[in-house]
Structures are given as structure tokens and as C-alpha cells.
Symmetry: D2
Subunit: 304 residues, 4 copies
């Protein structure tokens, strides 16, 4: 009985690269984690172990580091597009490249004597503290014809200490949950959004860094401003807020774990808990996932 080799891909994952710009004494840094996945005419590698069509994962790693010098890293997305095009356009057996990038951001350490550390009129700046908040993500795919860019973020933890209710749901034999008219709503946002950009001749790239900041801000604002009757409603508000404000985005997918904060029963101790003391639970958690996209757009961001 014949077996078929289906989807397959390979590459070097988690290339941790730090790029320093030293054009002035005020340095800039980019801190990325880059993963490469290549597909193509790779049947022989699997069937016979012939590596004639195989660009080694080690070479994909070298290319990441070399390109950081040759082309620089203006944004993760632009860097990923350059890498993806290179692998496909310069290796006949490679038909598709997918570059995933995580980006970690750093803030400057500002010191009171900064003034004394000027050289002439140039600020000295080479000290940074890592911003421990959300991780910026991107996934760039290229198949020889068009580019697809899905950007995102993860580990953005948010909380509303009020303006959240949950009631009116199905009751069955296994229902014990009490309806809630004032609860904490907290979640750790994982978001991915697809750009309409396809990388065609003459098509200008969006300003990826600016777009990211705006998408992030719109999601935070929608989270804060939505009086919520379900986390699904909040998810939908966050997704549509992005589509309404950012023309360059045509699909948004969100994964929102409901980080439960349970009101602690203080009555046994003669105390009244007026929504003041909560136990923050790890597990179990509700998990709410959903996509919002523009009409006519075929959604492509996969279920996690």
C-alpha cells in the first residue's frame, strides 16, 4: 500500500539575534527571535536521505545573521519579507518560505547626569532596560508570487476591575455558576492580524512599526471602553475596532483566556467582601477565540 508524503517544512528555529545601530553615540537596538520554515521539492530528502535539494538549516541561520548586516532590520516584517524572498528566489527547490519573528522591546535607561555624558551636542545612549510587556510577533510567507504578512502580539495582560457582567446563559443539569452583575474581567491577549499587502510589483509596504502601535492601542482602548456582558463581546469589539481604524488590516483573530478572579468568601470571618478581595486562579480558565474580517476577504489565520 502506497503512502503519500504530505505537507512538510523545515528550517532553523529561534535564531536569537540582537542588532545594534551605532551610527551615533546614541545606539539603537533590535532584539529578535527568528524562525525559518522552508517547503518545496523535498521528497528525496525524506525518501532516500539525498540532501541535494536541501538548503541546510544551518545556512538559513547564517543567512538571518548576515542579512541583519547587509539589509539591516527596520522592522521585523520588512526583514522577514527580505528573508522569505531570498530563500525562494535563490533556491530552485524551495517553493515556499515562512518566517516567524518575535520581537522584544527595550526602553532607554535615563540618568540624571545624561547631560554630562554628551559628546559635543550628541547624546550618549547605550543603556537599555528590557520592556517586559507584550511580545510583538509576525509571520511572513512567500510562495514565489505573493507575500502574506500576519502580525500580532502575545502576553499583553489586561484587566477591568468593573464594567463586566455575565448572566442570561443556558442552564442545564450541570450548571452551578451564579450570575454575575459586577465582576473582574482579565485576559492575556494573543492577537494576530493580516495585512492586505501582497508584495506585488510597485506595492508600497505599510509602515509596519506605526501600524503595530496603532493596532495595539485600538485593542487596549476597545478593551477598556467596552461595558462587557461576555468576553466574546469584548473580543468582537476589539477586532472590529481595529478593522474600523486600520485600513491596511483585513482580518483579526484573538485568543482571550478568561483569567478568572474569584471573589473570596470572607463571611466566615465576619467580613463583607464588597468586590475588594479576589483570588487570581491559574487553571482552569475559559478560553475565547474568534476571527473578525472584512466582507469579501477569505480568512486565513488558522485556529491555534
Amino acid at each position: 500500500m502506497a503512502h503519500v508524503l504530505g505537507q512538510n517544512q523545515y528550517g532553523k528555529a529561534e535564531n536569537r539575534i540582537v542588532r545594534v545601530y551605532r551610527d551615533s553615540t546614541r545606539h539603537e537596538i533590535k532584539d529578535l527571535n527568528v524562525s525559518v520554515a522552508l517547503s518545496g521539492d523535498l521528497d528525496d530528502v525524506h525518501l532516500t536521505g539525498s540532501n541535494a535539494n536541501c538548503l541546510p538549516t544551518d545556512t538559513t541561520k547564517n543567512t538571518v545573521f548576515a542579512f541583519a548586516k547587509e539589509y539591516g532590520i527596520e522592522s521585523a516584517e520588512a526583514f522577514g519579507i527580505t528573508l522569505a524572498r531570498h530563500f525562494v528566489d535563490n533556491n530552485e527547490p524551495i517553493h515556499r518560505a515562512r518566517i516567524r519573528i518575535e520581537e522584544y522591546t527595550w526602553d532607554r535607561i535615563r540618568t540624571p547626569d545624561s547631560s554630562s555624558r554628551f559628546i559635543g551636542s550628541e547624546e550618549v545612549g547605550h543603556s537599555f532596560v528590557r520592556n517586559g510587556g507584550e511580545v510583538r510577533t509576525s509571520e511572513i510567507s512567500y510562495d514565489g508570487e505573493s507575500v502574506q504578512v500576519i502580525s500580532g502580539l502575545k502576553d499583553l495582560v489586561v484587566m477591568n476591575s468593573t464594567n463586566s457582567e455575565f448572566w442570561g446563559y443556558i442552564k442545564d443539569r450541570y450548571t452551578t455558576l451564579q450570575e454575575a452583575y459586577d465582576r473582574i474581567l482579565a485576559t492575556q491577549v494573543t492577537a494576530r492580524w493580516k495585512y492586505s499587502f501582497r508584495g506585488q510589483e510597485g506595492e508600497a509596504q505599510p509602515n509596519w512599526n506605526r501600524s503595530y502601535q496603532h493596532v495595539r492601542r485600538h485593542m487596549l482602548e476597545a478593551f477598556a471602553e467596552t461595558y462587557s456582558y461576555s468576553l466574546q463581546q469584548t473580543l468582537h469589539a476589539m477586532g472590529t475596532r481595529v478593522l474600523n481604524n486600520r485600513a491596511e488590516v483585513d482580518e483579526v483573530r484573538l485568543e482571550l483566556p478568561n483569567k478568572h478572579h474569584f471573589l473570596v468568601d470572607l463571611e466566615p470571618f465576619g467580613l463583607k467582601n464588597e468586590n475588594e478581595v479576589y483570588y487570581a486562579a491559574d487553571r482552569m480558565y475559559g478560553l475565547i477565540e474568534g476571527t473578525v474580517h472584512r466582507e469579501g476577504v477569505v480568512p486565513v489565520i488558522p485556529v491555534a
Copy 2:
């Protein structure tokens, strides 16, 4: 401009349940992590916050614990099928259920005085040590008509200390890798395999526990017995070995990080390293992924 609500799902994730069987003084335990995801007629929950069609995630959690008592847990797969059918068949707005389960296994602690702890002829057995090896996984989906079962494992770490080579690959401007004629091959296996079982009237369930043991064994044997010229070749050998031996499985997908072990250069110390001393690297790592399926079968296991 209208926006469309695309794929969405929700449910309680990571319900950590331990089920003890105390039918005799020789106890048995099942230790699972169960995640529920439901889809269906849920537009209102997102658009207006009306929860009339929403079975709360809390109820899905209660159901998991109640079913462990009502139906028992013979295998994760059978338990997941019972849960998935329940949610869809008993809640009109719910059209699809996906149950993901991780299973942790425990071995008995055997003690020299076990004999003295018999009651009559019955062995006393209530002490266990967790088997820290691979985690068994399963994903059961039900759409009201048919069931789909994808079983698997993760965190199975294996190593061949020889019988692995890598050479004859593409060389380009960014190549620095030396060809290898005797290297360590180590990986942390994540595997998923789909059963042909569809849960139709009168269709018998496979023996899930037995099938798991055999699939695991065949993968280990294929890993050990393959003289490897690429990790892709080993991946293919593992997948086809399963298909060749287990008729109930019709698709296998593997994710194999290449856990690099670099030969340490001991020459500066006047020592010769004859493939004896290696540095085990964390990152970067090669990542090799692929699917093997029977002819005529449409593969469904998604790319991670």
C-alpha cells in the same frame, strides 16, 4: 463597511482531573488535563452580549468532572467522545465540540513488604510515582454527524549516539556547515496521528490504549533502526512504520526539533575528541515537520 464574524469557539481549558478507581484495595488512577472548545450559533454572544445561546465555560467544566463519575475514564479518547457528543447533542445552539486531552501516566511504587500488605489475597496498591516521560495527547471533534480522533504524544526525547550523517546538501554564499559522517541525532518527538474511526452507528471504537502503546513503540523502533542521512528521512521512516503496522491509523504528522549536540573542540587543550564530548545546545535548533498519509486520505492534521 460590514465586518464578518468568522471562526470562533469557546470553552473551559485545562480542567485538571484525577479519577481514582477504588474497586479493590489495588487502586487505579487516571490523570487528565481536559480542554473544551464549542462552536455554533453564537453570533449574538459576540454582537450584543446576549448569552441566551451560551453554555457557560463553567458548566463545561462541571460536565467534565461529573462525567468522570457517571461514565468513568477508560481512555482519554473514549471519554472525549462521550463529552463531545453530549455538548452537541444536548445543546441546540452548539454545532461542534472539540475536546483536547493531555494524559499523565503514573507507575506503581513497589515495596519489599508488599506481601505483608495483602488483605486476604488482594494486593494493597495505592502508591504511585509519576512517569515523567512523554505526555499522551488526544483531540476529539464532533460536528453532530461524525467523530474525528487525532491522538498523539509530546515530550518524548530520543537520541542516537551514532548512525547519523549529513552531507551532500546545497552550498551557497551563506554556507559554513561542515559535512558530518558520524553525528549525534537527538529530537523531542511531537506526534499526532488520525484514526479512520468516524463514530458511525455500529462502528466499534479501536482499543485506544493498546493502539497508543503500539504506535509509540513503532515510532521508537523506527527511530532506533533507521541509519539516517537527514532528520527528514528519520521522520518519514517513523511515519510510514506506523502506517505499515497500524491499520486503524491513516495519517501521521511529526514535529521533530533537531536537538543539536555540538562536538566540543578539545584540540586547544591537547586532547582529541573522538565523538565523545558534546555540548547540548538549547537554541537555535532545526525544526523538521511533515505528514505521511495513506493514498486517498485527505490529510487533516494542521501545521502547528
Copy 3:
């Protein structure tokens, strides 16, 4: 042969408590992870299983949550002192209490339409985003007579992209390291500092929150401003900077992993790497640890 029961302690660890202050529509939150450890007259609990002298760990948990309501949480340190005194002063068999607390901080989400969300003249503020940076730590001990407070932080990641050298070290048979005259210096700061405060009658507590902010700032500034010839030198500069500026602190201990950033060799690709492209390694890492204390003070912060 007799065996002796030595140091022992017990209590509930990792009580995850969120305290919301709702005195106005502008809420405040405190997010803590509190661990209790009690010692005392507990020989019987170990030797015979008699729990007559045992305050259950469950009760220590309840006390944490109840005290958050009864006494509030102005600072982790003040909260810990109140808890530690309670356990010792109100339970005759308990002679010593150690409270460890991690604190996670949250920033407000600011929205453009905040103005429209005023109620009368009161700002609405109930939306927060977790500050993912360093975790604030504290350890409060009380033995019935005096209090000891060790505050600290962890996971504060900092980098200097220049102004670091390393040369002039011992060379032996196993030396291969090249001297460096311009390298990246990066570390993930774990710091603990002891206060001279002993909690005696009439002794005022320091302003713990203000002290924390200043200690953190002084360490960051010392890190940024030190032209470094060894990470030890930077460690010493950070510790003495705190002692020089904060009279309430009399001992500082730092653990500084040297998060290596290796310059990538780009010469094989015809490129020159002028300190621009680095590989950020996970392991191995140098680990530099040390204590600085005032003369005459007996250091008490233990080695990790």
C-alpha cells in the same frame, strides 16, 4: 541511633491575591503572590502526626485573604509585617513566621475619550495593563522580638551596548577566550536588600514603596554609568550606589547572570561585523553573585 529533627517550617505558598480599592470610580489594585512559612514547637507533628500545635496551611491562606480586607495592602512589606506578627503573637506554638511576597505592577490604560467617561468631576479608571517588567519581592521575618525585612526585585533585564571590556585575566591550559575591548554587557538583575528596620516599639516603618523606587533607580543608574572592566565591578558599583544613597538599607546582595551576546563571525560571507550583529545565547552563562554591606553590619541575606 537517635536522629534529630532540625530546621523545619511549613505554610501555604503562592497565595495569589488581587486587592481592588474602589473608594472612587478611579480604582486602585494590588496584585500579590504571598507565601507563608511558620516554625515553632512542631516536633509532635513530625514524630507522631499529632496536629495539636499545627495551624493548618489552609488557615494561613484564609488569613492572608481576610487581612487584605481588614488591614488593606499599603505595601507588600507592611502587609507582610502585619501577617508575620499575627501568626507568632496569636499562636503559642508558632515562634517564627517568614512571609515572602512577589508583587506584580499594573499601569493604567489611558483612552482618548477618558474625558467623556467622567462622572461629574470624577475620573473613571478601572482599566489596567500589566507591567511585564521586573517583579518586586520582599521577605519579612518575625521571631516574636524583632522584624527583619529584605526587599528586592527580579527579572530586571538590562543591557549596555558598549562601555564594557574584559581582559587581563588569568590564562591557563584551558584558556581560549579572546580579550574584549568593546563588548555588550547584559544581565538579568536579581537584587535583595536588607533594611535596618527592626520593628521595635515606636520605630517608624520606612516608606517602603518610595524606598523601592529609589533603590531600583540607583541600581539602573549605576549600571548605565559604570564603564565596566568586569561584571563584578558593575555589581559592586550597583550595591555601593544603593548604600551611598539610601540610609535605610544596610546590606545589598546581587545575582547577575552574564547574558552573553556573542559577536557573529560574518567574514565567511564577505561582511565585516563592526560590533553590530550579535547572537544572544541562553546557556551557558556566567553567574556573578556578591554582597555589599555597611561596616559593622552582620550580613544575613543567604547565598541562593
Copy 4:
């Protein structure tokens, strides 16, 4: 005001080394994570940045790898002793060395066609699966005069599904816990034990590997065989069992988190839970710690 440099140490942490023995076609492997910490005459390194007395952490790493070849790794403890002696005896400014080692164990993959893979009468054996259970630990210290060896393990997870009670404890205003007469007792054992071995002239080293296996077994048996009224009682039984049976050990310290398994209330669903269905909680957990040592021995294993 003068400040004093207190305890300080440095070295390369987490050297991940795999040593393969290829003396026959039946390979053996040792898989270690080695961390070095050196102390001594290092004031200048901290005060002036002069590295004249500093053996670089990079060199300590090289030494670990070189020694794996030169001296082999019969056991982690013997390897650590050789390393510690080397650093102190060969570097005048270094007065003390502490080597910490984690060891990961691997089992052989056995295959049915092993027979066909014999060469002459020699078994082919180069395939291994990592044993994911507990990690073996050791800490070797040497100050130029005597050696101290503290061995241990971590991540050994055990459970008794019955034979555990908890009642008769202190009740106060904050008590809500119900007394339990049949509960699950589960814990994740971290154990450290000190050997009386001091590394003096002519003193034979214990058989470290054999001793480890026996200590581990005695702890497991004591856990299984103790009918427990408190986890403290179980801790004490485990520690004394080791002292009673292993003359080479004179101190044992255990850290036992009480991994709570809460009985799920199934009554709302019309079901009776006869100690069959449990929810396995992550946090909070009780944490029980204690030392047992021989009379006359000064305990040295520090509180974590």
C-alpha cells in the same frame, strides 16, 4: 562611610555536557548540567576591575568539557570533586569552589530485531529515550582542605490515593478547613542529603551511583508505607528511613509541596463522590520543609 564586600562568587553556570562512551558498539551516555562557582581573593575584581586574579568563567566552562575527556564521568559526584579540587589547587587566588550538577538519565530503546544488530557477539546499542522522571542533583564544595558532598533529587512526583488523614489541628477565627479522614496525599519531592565523606587523604569515596539508587528507593518506600496524619509526619519518616539505612549519609533535608487534590462536589448533579473524582490544583499549595540529621552532626544544608 566604608562599605564592605561580603560573600561573593562567580563562574560559568549550566554547562550542558553529554559524554558518550563508545568503548564497544554498546554505547553509554552521561548527560549533565554543570555549574561552577568560585570564591577567593577577588576584591580587586570588584573594586578596580582588575582581572589579574580572575579565572574567566569561559575557562571554567572549557575545563568542564576537557575534564569529561581527560577524567571521564563515572558519577556526577566524582566528576564534581575532580573539578572542585582542580580550580582551588591550581589557582592561588581561588580558595573555594562549589560545583552543582544536574543529571538527566536515559533508558535504552530496545527493539525486536536487536538480535540481527549484533556484531559478532556484541550487542549494538546506541539508541536512548530520555527518562523524564526526577532529576538527580549534587553539590560539591571544596575549600582546599575538605570536600563536602550534598546529593539530591528533584521533580519526583508521588501520590498516595488513600492512607492519609488530617485533623486535630488548631482552630482559630480564620479556620474553615474541614477535617479529613481519607484524602489523597501527593507531593513533588525535592531532597538533599549530605554525605559524611570529607575527601581526606586515604578516604575512599562512597559508590555514589549505588547510594543514590538506595536513598531514592528508601524515600519512595517510606512514602508508600507511611499511614500519614500530616505531610510533616511523612517527611520525617522519609528522612529517618534514609538515615536508618544508609550509613554514609548523615543529614537529609526535604521540601514537600502539598499538591492538593480537592474532592469535587458532585451533589448538585445528583451524584455521590466517594473519593473518586478530584480536581488537581496548581496553586496555592502547602509547602512542608524539614531536616533530619544524626545526633552530633551539625546540619549544613541551607533553607531554600
